[in-house]
């Protein structure tokens, strides 16, 4: 079993118009910049994929990564907790013009909805957002004298993930706080696509250290010197 693919274009093949796409990362930490930019390259060459629903904690920064996808016109809707950043122009301009949708989800609820999606749990109850505008229209129930809001699972057609080490079977480790949403998203997507800083042979990652087991991963591509979103921002890079 070998899940490696030869290049970024092959890695992002099969992501089609209208899909729900999860993108790992919290701000720039864990953002799979090269996979996102490969998807933008395909859109520019073929006009597809477009009308994507993108799930990420944020809604892009500057003119790179998710912000560049939004700029390019590939994104119909964002599902996120905090659509702001140091430079949120791409999302803000389209949102205020009514050209992009937003489903605002409290951060812990977003994480748990994705976890539930990967774990086969269709709904759960959380105290977060009870009594607030965010809970409007959602079922509420009382357990042991306290009120909770029902939230539903969140699943995706595909996920783009940045890992530190991957073996050819798709077992993954992450680097520092770059882990964040990625293990959850890897499990919640039908097609999980990983860019790893290094790909190694099976057995070279200690099974005790595996964070995402390969069962959740479909494709792995090596990107040795991956870009860091924050570093690109500081260098004023625009991907257009």
């Amino acid at each position: 079993m070998d899940k490696t693919v030869p290049d970024l274009a092959a890695a992002v093949a099969g992501i089609e118009d209208g899909m729900v796409l999860m993108v790992g990362g919290f701000g720039g930490s864990g953002a799979p910049i090269e996979l996102i930019h490969a998807l933008i390259d395909r859109f520019k060459a073929t006009g597809s994929p477009k009308n994507l629903t993108v799930v990420n904690n944020n809604a892009g920064n500057g003119r790179i990564g998710i912000a560049a996808m939004i700029d390019a016109g590939m994104v119909a809707k964002m599902v996120c907790s905090f659509p702001r950043s140091a430079d949120p122009r791409a999302f803000t301009e389209k949102y205020l013009a009514g050209e992009i949708g937003l489903e605002l989800v409290p951060q812990g609820t977003l994480a748990e909805r994705i976890r539930a999606g990967g774990a086969g749990i269709p709904a759960f109850y959380t105290p977060a957002s009870f009594g607030t505008d965010v809970a409007k229209g959602k079922p509420v129930a009382e357990f042991d004298g306290k009120s909770y809001v029902q939230e539903r699972w969140l699943k995706a057609d595909a996920a783009l993930i940045k890992a530190e080490l991957a073996d050819t079977m798709g077992n993954l480790t992450y680097r520092k706080a770059a882990r964040n949403f990625s293990p959850l998203m890897a499990a919640a997507a039908k097609l999980t696509i990983v860019q790893a800083t290094k790909i190694v042979a099976p057995g070279e990652i200690d099974p005790e250290q595996v964070v995402t087991p390969g069962i959740f991963v479909n494709r792995v591509v090596e990107v040795a010197n991956a870009s860091q979103e924050e570093a690109l921002m500081r260098d004023g890079v625009a991907y257009a």
Partner: protein
Amino acid sequence: MSTKLSNAQIAWRAAQDIADGAYVNLGIGFPEMVAKFQPPGRQAIFHTENGVLNFGEAPPSGEEDWDLINAGKKAITLKPGAAFFHHADSFGMVRGGHLDVAILGTYEVAENGDLANWSTGPKGVPAVGGAMDLVHGAKRVAVVTDHVTKDGKPKLVKRCTLPLTGVGCVTRVYSSLAVIDIEDGRFVLREKLASMRVEELQAVTGAELVLPDVIGDLVAPEVS
């Protein structure tokens, strides 16, 4: 003598109530200052929503590792005994009652413990982040805040008028003029500036203050 505490002094006062070994989440911005003022001999373990326990101060400029950030997307360092974990575990720590203290900023806090700190109304792009989760689960949920708005209006109110972050969640308020507990749907005055009379404090507070027999003096050293 100044007529109110500075933000740093409010943060200092809040830090005095954090026990050695407490697990603590500090909200983005002003509440982050609380970490600077831990009393000697005590070490709290700080939690950040994006998956780190026991982080330390910011690294020197030029030595940032941008994979190692806090919820405010600022670069951090690790202390010995730090741990990484994914986002679902991180918010499990929050909602599951594992944090001892969460300290947040606020626009309004009401005598019934309701908090409004995420939205000032329908204009612009709404963003909630982790605030709606953070107000649930910690054993103590405190806010640090100026006692009044820039226009001089009370931030401690009878009922919140801005969109709520959480219902009945706040247990203590550290303001620029007082320390106030929220008990049984009332503001209970614990400490106030010695230079201020109760009537003066009541006049800038939007709901009735309950006055216990002992009201301490709110004092903080000159810190920044």
